[in-house]
């Protein structure tokens, strides 16, 4: 099996999807000949022609409006938003249109073919507008699916699943892992399930939950905890919407403790939803308060990014506090 970084894995998924189905199209700002500013769409225009892989004008609301129309027509658009921070001009098209297309028409029309890819997250010295993690904004929107991969293998399998999923999917790619995360990735076609969390490590004392780039942070924290004799169960949520309540609940029923971490600000972040659900479903089994380790309730900073981010030390401290409660 070849070794790939996350960008290569994503490129491979797009390549397979486009080769298999003429209806799959990739477009967005600079995704054509340049292959996107991160090069996720490299060589696709060469291979599949300008009508299937192309630059769009610089207008996110137009990109998603166009993609909604294409999907309603029966095409399978994979639209790129250059940075997740720039998805907001398309918020109306996503939240009022994409999400509600099937419901409002009584399933006469749907945009299930649509996938929206966007690099998200911090750790790259990007400041306010190249670092945001907007998953929670979309997770409050029935009709959307939201998926975040943690490594190249996951990225390829989940992206292929997203493209073929009968519902519209927002696919947020942890950009600080684009080149940093590498691993074995099958060259051929495969899919990973959407809507299912994955237990990446079993343990008994506390459940530690995250997604995307935070999984690496969690792994480091859990190693520190391991050295202190704390046995952590680790869950990668993978799908933020719909999320796999049952797997999380099952784990917490076993460990009695839960630490959730994400980069987005605390207030209104998706950890709140998980904590609210878990406290309800595991009430009598919880041995300590569910802890959230997140970004601060501020815009994303630059010089003090390290201080802002929920890193392994902060997660480690939360694990210890949870177990010691």
């Amino acid at each position: 099996m070849p070794n790939m970084n996350m960008l290569q894995a994503i490129n491979s998924a797009l390549d397979i999807a486009m080769a298999e189905d003429d209806k799959v199209l990739c477009f967005g700002e600079d995704v054509g000949i340049f292959g996107g500013v991160f090069r996720a769409t490299s060589h696709l225009q060469e291979k599949y022609g300008k009508s299937r892989c192309f630059n769009t004008p610089l207008v996110e609301q137009g990109i998603i409006g166009f993609a909604n129309g294409l999907a309603a027509q029966g095409s399978v658009p994979v639209a790129e938003i250059q940075f997740a921070d720039y998805i907001f001009p398309a918020f109306d098209q996503i939240v009022n249109e994409t999400a509600k297309f099937r419901y409002r028409s009584g399933d006469l029309f749907n945009v299930g073919g649509l996938t929206i890819r966007a690099p998200y997250g911090g750790g790259i010295a990007g400041g306010l507008y190249h670092s945001q993690s907007p998953e929670a904004y979309f997770a409050h929107t029935p009709g959307l699916k939201v998926v975040v991969p943690r490594n190249p293998y996951q990225a390829k399998g989940l992206l292929l699943a997203a493209i073929r999923d009968p519902d519209p999917v927002l696919f947020f790619e942890p950009k600080r892992l684009y080149r940093a995360s590498t691993g074995e990735v099958p060259e051929e076609d495969y899919q990973l399930p959407i809507g299912e969390a994955e237990v990446t490590r079993e343990g008994s004392d506390v459940t530690v939950l995250g997604w995307g780039a935070q999984m690496e942070v969690i792994d480091r924290a859990v190693e520190l905890a391991d050295k202190e004799g704390i046995s952590c169960e680790v869950i990668d949520l993978r799908s933020i919407l719909p999320w796999d309540e049952d797997s999380v609940v099952e784990s917490v029923l076993k460990t009695g403790r839960l630490v959730i971490t994400h980069e987005a600000p605390l207030t209104g972040g998706f950890a709140g939803e998980i904590a609210a659900t878990v406290q309800e479903r595991c009430f009598l089994y919880l041995e300590s308060p569910i802890a959230r380790v997140t970004g601060l309730d501020t815009p994303f900073p630059l010089t003090l990014e390290k201080e802002y981010l929920p890193d392994h030390l902060k997660v480690f401290e939360a694990i210890k506090a949870s177990v010691a409660f």
């Binding site: 166009f66 129309g69 028409s105 009584g106 006469l108």
Partner: protein, 407 residues
């Protein structure tokens, strides 16, 4: 990039360098303007168009009356704009996609959407294709290639660009027409849509109904320019302005637009100058923002009468036929309305279906919980209770209609 001539004095253009003329064929009395030539139109299609216009008008009048009686929560009329909407629809292939704003029921009538189908949507009953989820007038029909209406303005415009791009790739010679008001054309989505369509050479017809108002806002507070048409120059897009109350001109212009779209893969902008003769909606009262006199001027330009005059002059139509048509349509409206009102609401399960292709486990849990709750308080939820137990008689309160929004 641009290759233009040079100037050496800082002369600003002012936007008044040119004006866009209005294309007209038919006078109000039914005669043609001098030099005008009617588009090819046989008796059959002419009457299909005319009957559609009358059927739309009758539907609108009756349903607005029904709304005032409290039988319906909300309604919007096409009144005054029938020629613009129906003339455009008649210029298309019936399999071309229509994406409308909300005031284009005439296009649906033209394609064959029945009064029963209208009523089911208006009353949100179990036969409504939209399963009673959207407010009245949010029609849609897959078989008639008419995209379900969505309330947020202008969102359909870039969607039309995308839809038409897909049609171009599919290569079956179809195009998309997208309707919108001169108000909606102020949204950012308008700019996105036209620019992308021009860059990507998409077979789409942008059809702007410039009816003078966006609710209470007159077009002079909507834009400073001479209408919407001049914007086409900013996209190097084919454009025409047409008398929107002139069925022949609209038909002719849209036919030509369709040829440009489908044969050259070029988008086209049509601005139809017309007037919203009725209130914005059943929630609106125009007397607060415009004069009766202004309305009268436009009532004299009624597009249906204009076509009737033309038909009568050609002896394709007469008073008796008119009377018979009106009567049968009125009867049909009342009958279908009664049928639709009596039909039960959509089943409780429709609350959670179609959010996703499949109902998620969490949604199923929410539905189950709701069912338990409704079984506990069936009187409080007559519609839901009836769905759980079809023998329960619906006992809807009329308060919905009183409580409607103000838009």
């Amino acid at each position: 990039m641009t290759t233009t001539t040079d100037i050496h004095t800082p002369d600003f253009l002012r936007g008044d360098e040119f004006s866009i003329p209005t294309f007209r064929l038919l006078r109000q009395d039914g005669t043609l303007h001098e030099g005008a030539e009617a588009p090819a139109l046989d008796r059959e299609q002419a009457l299909r168009i005319y009957r559609t216009m009358v059927a739309t008008r009758v539907l609108d009048e009756r349903m607005m009356a029904a709304q005032r009686q409290g039988r319906l929560s909300f309604y919007m009329q096409c009144t005054g704009e029938e020629a613009a909407v129906i003339g455009a629809a008649a210029a298309l292939d019936d399999a071309d996609m229509i994406m409308s704003q909300y005031r284009e029921q005439g296009a649906l009538v033209y394609r064959g959407f029945s009064y029963d189908e209208f009523m089911n949507q208006l009353f949100g009953n179990e036969l409504d294709y939209g399963k009673g989820r959207q407010m009245p007038i949010h029609y849609g029909s897959r078989k008639l290639h008419f995209m379900t209406v969505s309330s947020p303005l202008a969102t359909q415009i870039p969607q039309a660009t995308g839809y038409a791009y897909g049609q171009k790739l599919a290569g079956e010679g179809h195009c998309t027409i997208v309707f919108f008001g001169e108000g909606a054309a102020s949204e950012g989505d308008f700019h996105a849509a036209l620019n992308m369509a021009a860059v990507h050479e998409v077979p789409v017809i942008f059809f702007c109904r410039n009816n003078g108002y966006a609710i209470s806002t007159p077009s002079i507070e909507q834009f400073a320019a001479d209408g919407v048409a001049p914007r086409a120059f900013g996209y190097r897009m084919h454009v025409i302005r047409v008398d929107g109350n002139d069925i022949l001109a609209v038909l002719s212009a849209t036919r030509k637009a369709r040829r440009i779209a489908v044969e050259e893969n070029k988008p086209v902008l049509i601005e139809a100058m017309t007037y919203r003769l009725a209130a914005h909606s059943s929630s609106d009262d125009p007397s607060g923002y415009r004069s009766k006199k202004e309305e009268e001027v436009w009532r004299d330009k009624d597009p249906i009468l204009r076509m009737q005059n033309w038909l009568v002059a050609r002896e394709w139509w007469n008073d008796d036929e008119e009377k018979a048509l009106q009567e049968s349509l009125r009867r049909e409206v009342l009958e279908t309305m009664k049928r639709a009102e009596k039909r039960p609401p959509p089943p409780l399960d429709s609350l959670v279906s179609d959010v996703y292709a499949d109902v998620t486990p969490a949604l199923q849990r929410q539905l189950d919980h709701l069912k338990t709750h409704i079984r506990q308080y069936p009187e409080a939820y007559p519609r839901g209770a009836r769905s759980l137990d079809p023998d329960v008689k619906p006992r809807d309160d009329a308060s919905d209609a009183d409580n409607r929004g103000g838009e």
